[in-house]
């Protein structure tokens, strides 16, 4: 066993590097400086190793507090020799374990990936659900108001109290069966050709003129509203906010320090994840929306016809329609699910409104000059 090793000594007081020889004893290191033959002793228990655990690094041993002295030994064989010579040197790094450590690191990689997937698929949705349920309704309402102000600034709202009352009546009939629930529902119609409807948290539902004009009966709009009411009742938007935030934190943990640049790259991955989670929310809103219609005694055929109409237009390559479909992906599969759910109960008797009355209501924004982006051809 080799006991004498070449080293460099830093005294912690000057920047001079001194050549030294280190002799390993049973209790510590005997250090002799080359230039003046000065000798001193470092007991193993006072020695900290701060470098030399990675390939290519020299061994760095420190002793003392703030202004610590340092011994630098170029050959990692020193560590094995010291560990073999004394049981007190057990805290020094063992170079023969580097292979094992590489294995451990690989194990850590596998575990980290598994843990991250587990958190992503189970932990985050569960957390978001629990957290969203604890958000006060008043917070949801103020968040919802901000969203409504964004999509529907006052100047672009269609105000017609008489016809609006017909729509409100539909909402009231739907929500009457979903009691008890803490929200006050309010439908805002926006003068915009976009075929879309948005459920903001706290009970605010935004319907765009484009969508309203494409409905052919009150039942068709009731289907859309039932779907949006379920989004509100399930707190899907609030949940999505929690999911987004915690996905961001998860990714930060995986990637390490997230500078603004990496954040851009992550944004893409996060959006994909959000879309996937939102599909689950959509099916839930569909399913419970149908049930809501049935409970309110409204014919579910309207909802199915309307979704059918949208997906047919999508296949036809109409550019204006798919906005709703991109956020509410209406696949034939989903429509099939809706049909089977609807078939479970007999269609109710009676209509919400006669069709000619509905033609009047759906042109709520009609008196205004046609929007430049109007889809009419």
């Amino acid at each position: 066993m080799r006991l004498d090793w070449d080293a460099a000594y830093l005294d912690g007081r000057t920047a001079a590097r001194r050549r030294a020889t280190v002799h390993i004893t049973r209790t510590g290191l005997d250090v002799v400086l080359a230039e003046d033959g000065a000798r001193f002793f470092w007991p193993f228990r006072e020695i900290r190793q701060t470098q030399g655990t990675y390939a290519g690094e020299q061994v760095r041993l420190e002793r003392g507090g703030e202004m610590s002295e340092v011994l630098l030994i170029g050959d990692v064989g020193f560590l094995s020799a010291a560990r073999a010579a004394s049981p007190e040197a057990g805290h020094l790094h063992d170079p023969s374990r580097r292979r094992f450590r590489a294995g451990l690191t690989f194990g850590a990689l596998v575990t980290a990936v598994a843990l991250a997937l587990g958190i992503y698929y189970f932990g985050i949705p569960a957390f978001a659900e629990v957290a969203a349920a604890r958000v006060p309704v008043s917070w949801e309402e103020s968040l919802g108001r901000a969203i409504v102000d964004h999509f529907a600034p006052a100047a672009r709202r269609c105000d017609d109290p008489v016809r609006q009352a017909r729509i409100d009546a539909v909402v009231a009939r739907l929500t009457a069966t979903a009691q008890p629930q803490p929200y006050t529902f309010r439908v805002t119609v926006v003068n915009s050709g976009v075929v879309n409807a948005v459920a903001a948290p706290g009970g605010n539902i935004i319907v765009f003129r484009g969508l309203l004009e494409r409905t052919d009966s009150a039942e068709e709009l009731a289907g859309v509203l039932a779907h949006e009411v379920e989004h509100v009742l399930h707190r899907h938007v609030t949940r999505a906010i929690f999911q987004r935030a915690s996905t961001g934190i998860l990714m930060a943990a995986l990637v390490g320090d997230v500078s603004s640049v990496v954040a851009y790259g992550l944004e893409g991955a996060r959006t994909l994840g959000t879309l996937q989670m939102s599909r689950a929310a959509e099916s839930e809103a569909d399913r419970d929306g149908i049930r809501l219609l049935q409970a309110a005694g409204i014919d579910t055929a309207g909802m199915i016809t309307f979704f059918d109409k949208l997906s047919a237009r999508e296949r036809g390559g109409d550019d204006i329609l798919p906005r709703y479909l991109r956020t509410h992906p209406t696949t034939s599969e989903r429509i099939a699910t809706l049909r089977s759910l609807a078939a479970a109960a007999a269609p109710p008797q009676g209509r919400l409104l006669p069709d000619d009355a509905w033609d009047n209501v759906k042109n709520l924004c009609g008196q205004r000059p046609a929007d430049a982006r109007s889809p009419r051809r």
Binding site: D11, R13, G28, D36, F40, V255, S259, G265, L266
Partner: protein
Amino acid sequence: MADTCPRCGFAEVSSDRCPQCGVVIATYQSSLEKMRRGPAPRPAAPAARPAAATPARAAAVTTGSRHVIFRGSGGSLFGIHVVNALLILATVGIYYFWAKVRVRSYLWSESEFEGDRFAYHGTGRELIIGFAKAALFFFLPATLLNMLPELLGASPVVIIVTRMLVSIFAAIFIPIAIVGARRYRLSRTSWRGIRFSLRAKTGDFARLWILGWLLIPLTLGFYYPSFIVNQHRFLTSHSWFGSERFSFDGRGRDLLPAWFGVVLLFVPTLGLSWFWFAARRQRYYAEHTRVAGARFRSTVTGPKLAWLTISTWIGLICTVGLAWPWLTVRRMRRTFEWLSLDGPLALDTITQQAQQVNATGEGLSGFFDADLGFT
């Protein structure tokens, strides 16, 4: 023969070796003696002195062009990163601070200058305390002040006024964070056992900083080069390596033509002229910075800097951050290659001078994304 051990105080020592702590008495005493005297007779230079390389000490002065060499590998850094990610997940994020220390420790340890590696002395404990303090004194009050009026349903005027107050509050904290983070990082960095330090009054920097942001709009941006050079002068000329002070002799007006150029060409070059200015600035800063008789020099150019930065971004974005370890290693190698320290370097009169520093500024800088270094 001693009858009490000089090290642990054990009373019944009958041979030369203490039965309790195992110390060899004679060796221990002689080493104590050496420690008291210091291991070698040093030149009588007790206090800090400007390191003018006088011919009398020429033997201890080395000349030539020196580089910091980065010797780390992306593979090792990736290994550290993987273990860090696992422990961060497993501890619900608390390990983050220790993870940061492990990464810095590796990067510092792999940076070599004149045959000696740098060392990082920060600890996760310090970082987490710094973060907690910054959260308590800055982040929490700022967030509350920002949100409360709206939650309480205050009038729009109150909301706007509090928002402005928060902005002012943040504007005061940014320079504090910059100085604090720099102070902490330098104090936890050593080379050849000697610590770096920043010895400056935070208030002076905050004044310079706030005054600068007031003057920039008033002078239609002409003050900007002076502003950044003043900041750099402040941070550099208050930086020390042990007893040796860094000095900076640049002036803002020297960068004014380059600043003009970048502003005029910003739109036609789609912003790429910024790299040209950044490279010019780096070269200027280096050429005007001196330590221990030597002067820095930088060979960075606009295209080099642009390529390094843009390719790093693209790499990070395409791999969703996974290539971070390799890209960091590459970036450190390049950056060090461009920078050199030229001329006579007098190191033997430099002595250690301990400073008391906490990590609050470091924690603050985390909130502003005002990171100065590589990590």
